[in-house]
Amino acid sequence: MSTVKQAPATTGEVQTIVAARRLTSAKVVFIGVGRPSTAAILAREVHNPALVLVYESGTIGAKPRRVPLSIGDGELAETADAVVAVPEMFAYWVQAGRIDVAFLGAAQVDRYANLNSTVIGEYDAPRTRLPGAGGAPEIAGGCGEVVVIVPHTTRTFVERLDFVTTVGHADPDGVLGSIPGEPAGITREGLGLRGRGPSAVITDLGVLQPDPVTKELVLVELLPGATVQQARERTGWDLRVADDPRRTAEPTAEELTALRELVGR
C-alpha cells in the first residue's frame, strides 16, 4: 500500500466503494459494465476473494484484473470458470435463481425501486431514447436480490416512471398506478417474480433501502459530506428518511488504493 498521502476520495469513488462493501458475504454477483463492474472487481480484490463474477455475456467466474469496457471483453472469457451461450445464461443461471446479487443501473427509479431504462418522454415520441431493457427485467426477476446504482438527481428519482422497464417492488400500496395491466396494489410476488427484489439503491448521496413492510425506499445511510436535505431536494417524491441515518464509513486506505490501482490498469 502506498505510503504517500492519498488524495481524498471523490463522491464517485465512495459510491463504488459502498457498492463493493455490499458484496462482502455474497457468493455470486451478476454485473453489467461501468460502476457495477468496478465495484464487483474491487469487492473480489479487497473483501471477498471467493466472489463469483457473472457477466451477461456468458462468462461465469470471470477474474478480470482490469475494468472491462464491455461485458464481453476477452479477458472475461479467458479467466472464467465456464463460458456459456446467452440463451443458457438467462435460462440455467439467471432464471433458475443461481445468482445471489445483481447490480443494475437505470435512468429513472421510483419509490418502489421500479426502473426505467427505455425512454424519457412518450414511447412513440421520445424526448430521449435510452438503450432499452437488456438483461435487466429478468435479472431483477430471477436473482436473489438487486442492488441499484444510480446518481441522485431529480431526473433519476421520479414520482412516476415514464416507462416501466424493470419491476422492483411493483406497486404494493397502489399509489403509483403504474404497473401496466395489473390491479392497483400489486406486489412483485403477485407478478410471479422471484427473489427479494431491490435490497438497496446506492447513490452519490447515500443508500436507500426498502421498508421491510411497505417496500417504500427509505434513506438509511449518508455518504461522507452528504445531507438529508440534499437527498430530499434531489428526490422527486416526498422521500422517507430513517430516524437516524447511518453515516457511511470513510473509505479505508486499502479500499481507495485498490480502487485507484484497478481503475488505472
Binding site: 455475456s57 469496457l69 427505455t118
Partner: protein, 272 residues
C-alpha cells in the same frame, strides 16, 4: 454444404432488399465487415435483428438501410448512447424507423425457438413491465402448475450472418470465446453466411469451441479482421478506442456521413 466464396459474392447472393437480417455476435465476433459489404451493395428496407445493435447497426441505421429494428439493448457498451439509433427513433432521421424491442432473455429465447423450429418459447418475464404492451409477447399458463409465464415468438431471419475464427475448405466453422447467440442465429435462419478470420486445412477442436457443420450454412467467406473494432478471441483485440471515437463521429449527422463515405461506402477504401 457451405460454399466457400468471397465476401462480395456471398452477400450479393444471400442478402436482398427488404430482408430480415440478423448480424449477431454478443460484444465478441460482431460481423462488421459483412455489414459494411451490405451497405456498399446498397441494400435497403432491411429489418435489422440483433440483441445489441452496437456500433454496426448504428452505422446501418444511420445510412438509412433499415426499415425496422428488432433488438434488446441499443447502447454503445461502456461508452454511452448510439447517436444514429437515437436520431432515427427520436427524429426520424434519415427516415422514420419501426422498432420492436425485447429483453435479452426474450431475444435469446426467440432465437432458441427459431433454432428448434418451435413457434414460441417460454420464459418467466415481461409481466408488470410496459414492454409487454409494446412488443410481441403473450402469456401462457403452465398446464401442470397453473403458473402464468411469458411466451415469445420464434425468430426466423431471412439471413443470419456471424463471424468466426476458422473454417475448413468444406465450410465447417469453429468459433471460440464468448459464444453469444451465433449458433442459434444461424440455425434459426433461412439462409446464412459466416465470415471467418482464416480458412484452414483442418479444424482442430478448441476448448470452448462451437462447431457449425458446413451443411448448416449457405456460404463461408474469408474476412480477416472482419469483426473489428469488435474482436475475434485469440486473433484480434477489441479496439476500445474506436468504440470511444464512434461517440464523437456519430453525434453529428454530417461528420457521420463523411466518415461512412470515407471508411465504409467508398469501395476503394480499406475496410475498417
Amino acid at each position: 454444404m457451405a460454399e466457400v466464396t468471397d465476401l462480395r459474392s456471398a452477400v450479393a447472393g444471400l442478402v436482398r432488399d427488404g430482408d430480415a437480417v440478423a448480424l449477431e455476435g454478443f460484444t465478441h465476433l460482431i460481423p462488421f465487415r459483412a455489414g459494411h459489404e451490405i451497405l456498399r451493395q446498397g441494400r435497403r428496407d432491411l429489418e435489422l435483428i440483433r440483441m445489441t445493435p452496437d456500433v454496426l447497426y448504428d452505422q446501418m441505421v444511420g445510412v438509412g438501410a433499415a426499415r425496422k429494428l428488432v433488438f434488446s439493448y441499443g447502447g454503445n457498451p461502456g461508452v454511452g448512447s448510439l447517436h444514429r439509433f437515437r436520431d432515427a427513433i427520436e427524429h426520424g432521421w434519415p427516415h422514420p424507423i419501426e422498432i420492436e424491442e425485447h429483453s435479452h432473455a426474450g431475444m435469446a429465447n426467440r432465437y432458441l425457438a427459431g433454432a428448434s423450429d418451435l413457434p414460441f418459447a417460454v420464459l418467466r418475464g415481461y409481466r408488470g413491465t410496459d414492454l409487454e404492451a409494446r412488443t410481441r409477447v403473450e402469456r401462457v399458463t403452465c398446464p401442470f402448475t397453473g403458473e402464468v409465464l411469458a411466451a415469445v415468438p420464434a425468430l426466423h431471419p431471412d439471413v443470419s450472418i456471424v463471424h468466426a475464427q476458422e473454417a475448413d475448405r468444406q465450410g465447417n466453422v469453429q468459433l471460440w470465446g464468448i459464444p453469444g447467440v451465433q449458433k442459434e442465429a444461424v440455425l434459426a435462419a433461412t439462409r446464412s453466411l459466416v465470415t471467418v478470420e482464416r480458412i484452414v486445412d483442418e479444424l482442430v477442436p478448441r476448448p470452448g469451441g462451437v462447431v457449425l457443420p458446413g451443411w448448416t450454412i449457405d456460404a463461408v467467406a474469408e474476412a480477416p479482421g472482419g469483426s473489428q473494432p469488435s474482436y475475434a478471441h485469440g486473433i484480434t483485440d477489441r479496439d476500445n478506442a474506436a468504440y470511444r471515437e464512434w461517440d464523437r463521429v456519430s453525434r453529428d449527422r454530417d461528420t457521420f456521413a463523411a466518415w461512412m463515405d470515407e471508411h465504409v461506402l467508398d469501395a476503394s477504401a480499406p475496410v475498417t
